[in-house]
Subunit: 337 residues, 2 copies
DNA sequence: GCGGGCATTGTTATCGATAACATTCCCACA
DNA sequence: TGTGGGAATGTTATCGATAACAATGCCCGC
C-alpha cells in the first residue's frame, strides 16, 4: 500500500517556493525577455531545489505541438538505415527534439500507413521517412499536407523534401575508376531494382559505360545480402571475360569476393571489385575493398535542417538536398591482367 | 497567410456529431462497460466520419502516464545494438507503445545522464537501457526508483531487471567445439574488457580451458572492430603454435581471417576460427565463419515483457532473463593439421 | 508634480482528455 | 403502485503548461 508517491513538482510548486506566479516561472523557462535578473535567478534556484522538470504533455497540449519527430524506417540491420537513424537521433537531440522510431518489416503500403498513423497519434511535429522504394511513396501520399515531412532516399518525383546521397555520381566514380585502370567494361551486381538507391547506381553505371562507348553487360540484380552477392559472384566467376565488377553495396561485394575466391579467380589480379557504403569492415575484406563512401551523418543533418525549416515557415517548399559520395580506393582494384 | 487550418477534431466534436456527451465518447474509446451497443456504434461512426484521433498529450496529462518507452542505446552501427533496437520497437508497437530512442556517443556517466534526463522529461512510462559497460551502471543509479527500468546486457549485480544473452555458455560451446576437434588450446581475441559481454565470453573461454586442464594463453583484447581484429590476427599469425582462435565477435573474426590469410596461414587447415553474433555476412566470409548466434528478437521480447510487468505491478522485483546462444557450425573450423 | 509609456508581474482562460460524482431511465419486485 | 437499484449517460473538476490580457510600478520629460 502506498500514498501515491509524492508526485513530481509542477510549475505552481516552483512558483510558490520562489514567491512568484506560475506564469513568471513559465517565462523564465522559455527565456522570455522582461524578467528581472534577480527574479530569474530566484526561479532558477527554486527549479533546481525541487528538481522540477516541465511536463511535456501539458506543454504539448496547450501549444498544439510536440517536440517529437517521428522516423519511419525499415526494420533491418542493413548498414545504411541503421546508421542513418543513429545519426539523426544525435542531430535531433542537439536541437531539443526527441525521436520516436517506427520500424516496419516491409515497406508496403499497409505497414507504412500503420506506422504513420501511430506517429500521427502521437502528434509528431514532423516526420522523416526512410523510404527507399516506390511502394512507400504511395503510402505516404496520404500524410496530411500540414505535417512536415522529409524523405531520405525517396522518390525524387514525389514532390516532398528529399535528402539523398548522390548515387549516380558515386556509381560513376566507381565505374570511371575501373575503366581508367584499363578494364574493357564493368559488370554490375545491383540491389533490388525497386529501390531508388539501386536505380541511381544502375543508371550511373550504365551512363558511364555508354559515354565511354563500352558495351553494357547484362545487369545482375540481387537483394542487398552477401548471400545473393555470392550467387551472382558464382556466375561471374565462371565467365573469363569478366574482369571488373561493381557491386551495389559492400555486403554484395563480400559475397562476390568469396565466390571469386572459391573458383580461384584472384582479386584484384584477375578481377577487380568495387563496393558501395564503406562499412567499417570493408577495409578488412580479402582483399581490402575499394568502395564508395556515403556520409550518413551529412544526410541526417540535412534532413533535420529541412524538417526544421518546414516546421518554422509553413511553406511546403519541397527542397532536395543531394549529399556527395566519395570513392575510397583500396586494394581490390587493379589493371586487368 | 492562412486561417490557422481546421484544427483536428477533438472529442467534443465527435460527441456533438454522435449526439452524446464527450464522456460517453471517452467511454467508448476506453472500452468501458455500460455503454449501450447502439450508442457505441453511433460514436464509432462519428469517430470514423471525422477521422478523429485521440490526443495523446491530453490523455498523458490527465492520467499521468505516457504510452512511451524510452530506449537508451549506444550510437553505433554495431550489429548487436542496432538489431536489438529494431526488434524492440516491433515488439513494443504490438502492445501499443511507442519507442523513443536516445542514443549516446559514449557510455560514460554524463552522456547517459543527459539521455536519461531527456527521457524523463518526456515522462516515459519505462526505460530500457542497453548498457554494456560498468560506467553505464553508475549513471543509472540515479534513475528514480519508481521508473520501471530493464537493462539489456547490463550488470548482473545492479539489482535491476536484466535481460542478457548467455555469453558464458556461448563461449563455452565455441571453445568446447574447438577442443573437441583436437586443438590443444584456444586463443581468445576479446572485446573491450569493460563490457559485460566481453567479460562473459572471456570467463566462458577461460573456464572451459581450465576444466579441460589446458593452458590458458594470454588474452588479446581489442575493441569490436575488424581493424583491431586484424591487429590481433597479425600477432597470432606469427605464432606457429596457434591453431585455434575464438574471436569475441564476427567483425573481429573477419580481421583475424584477413591477417591469417596475408601471412599464408590457411583457415581452417592451419588455424581454426570461431566468431560471435552470426551477422548475416558471416556465412560469406572466406572461409564461412563458425560462430555463436544470439537471438536479439528473444532478448527484445523478454525485455518488453519484464518492463510491462514492472509497469503493471509496482513491484520492483528484479528478475533476470538469460537467453541462450547457439553455436552455428561452418567451415572455419577443422582438426589441427 | 503629473501623465505617458515601458518593464515587470499577476490573473484568468484554454488545450483535450479522464475521474469522480450526479442524474436520468427503466424494470423488477414487494 | 411506489420504490430500490443498476445500467446508461451527463456534468463538473482536474491534470500542468502557455496565451492573452490586466495590473502594477517606475522612470522620465514637460
Amino acid at each position: 500500500m502506498e500514498t501515491k508517491g509524492p508526485r513530481s513538482p509542477a510549475m505552481t510548486d516552483v512558483a510558490r517556493l520562489a514567491g512568484v506566479s506560475h506564469q513568471t516561472v513559465s517565462r523564465v523557462l522559455n527565456d522570455h525577455p522582461n524578467v528581472k535578473e534577480q527574479t530569474r535567478l530566484r526561479v532558477r534556484a527554486a527549479i533546481a531545489e525541487l528538481g522540477y522538470r516541465p511536463n511535456r504533455a501539458a506543454r504539448a497540449l496547450v501549444t498544439g505541438r510536440s517536440q517529437l519527430i517521428g522516423v519511419v524506417a525499415r526494420n533491418s540491420m542493413l548498414y545504411g538505415p541503421a546508421s542513418m537513424l543513429a545519426e539523426f537521433e544525435q542531430a535531433a537531440a542537439d536541437t531539443g527534439f526527441a525521436v520516436s522510431v517506427g520500424s516496419v518489416r516491409e515497406l508496403d503500403r499497409d505497414s507504412i500507413s500503420a506506422v504513420v498513423d501511430r506517429h500521427l497519434d502521437q502528434r509528431v511535429a514532423g516526420l522523416v521517412v526512410i523510404a527507399q522504394v516506390a511502394s512507400a511513396t504511395e503510402a505516404l501520399a496520404e500524410i496530411p499536407a500540414e505535417v512536415p515531412v522529409v524523405f531520405i532516399d525517396g522518390d525524387p518525383a514525389a514532390g516532398r523534401s528529399l535528402v539523398t546521397v548522390d548515387q549516380v555520381a558515386g556509381a560513376r566514380a566507381a565505374v570511371r575508376h575501373l575503366l581508367d585502370q584499363g578494364h574493357e567494361t564493368v559488370w554490375h551486381v545491383s540491389g533490388p531494382t525497386e529501390w531508388f538507391d539501386s536505380a541511381g547506381r544502375i543508371s550511373g553505371w550504365r551512363q558511364t559505360l555508354l559515354e565511354a562507348g563500352r558495351e553494357v553487360p547484362p545487369l545482375l540484380s540481387a537483394d542487398w545480402s552477401a548471400a545473393e552477392g555470392y550467387r551472382a559472384g558464382q556466375m561471374l566467376a565462371r565467365m573469363p571475360e569478366v574482369t571488373a565488377v561493381f557491386a551495389a553495396n559492400d555486403h554484395l561485394a563480400l559475397g562476390v569476393l568469396r565466390a571469386l575466391h572459391e573458383r580461384g579467380r584472384r582479386v584484384p589480379h584477375d578481377v577487380s571489385v568495387i563496393g558501395f557504403d564503406d562499412v567499417p569492415e570493408a577495409a578488412f575484406f580479402i582483399p581490402p575493398l575499394t568502395t564508395v563512401r556515403q556520409s550518413f551523418g551529412d544526410v541526417a543533418r540535412a534532413a533535420l535542417t529541412l524538417l526544421l525549416g518546414q516546421m518554422k515557415e509553413e511553406s511546403g517548399a519541397a527542397d532536395t538536398v543531394i549529399v556527395p559520395a566519395q570513392l575510397v580506393k583500396r586494394e581490390s582494384v587493379a589493371p586487368p591482367a
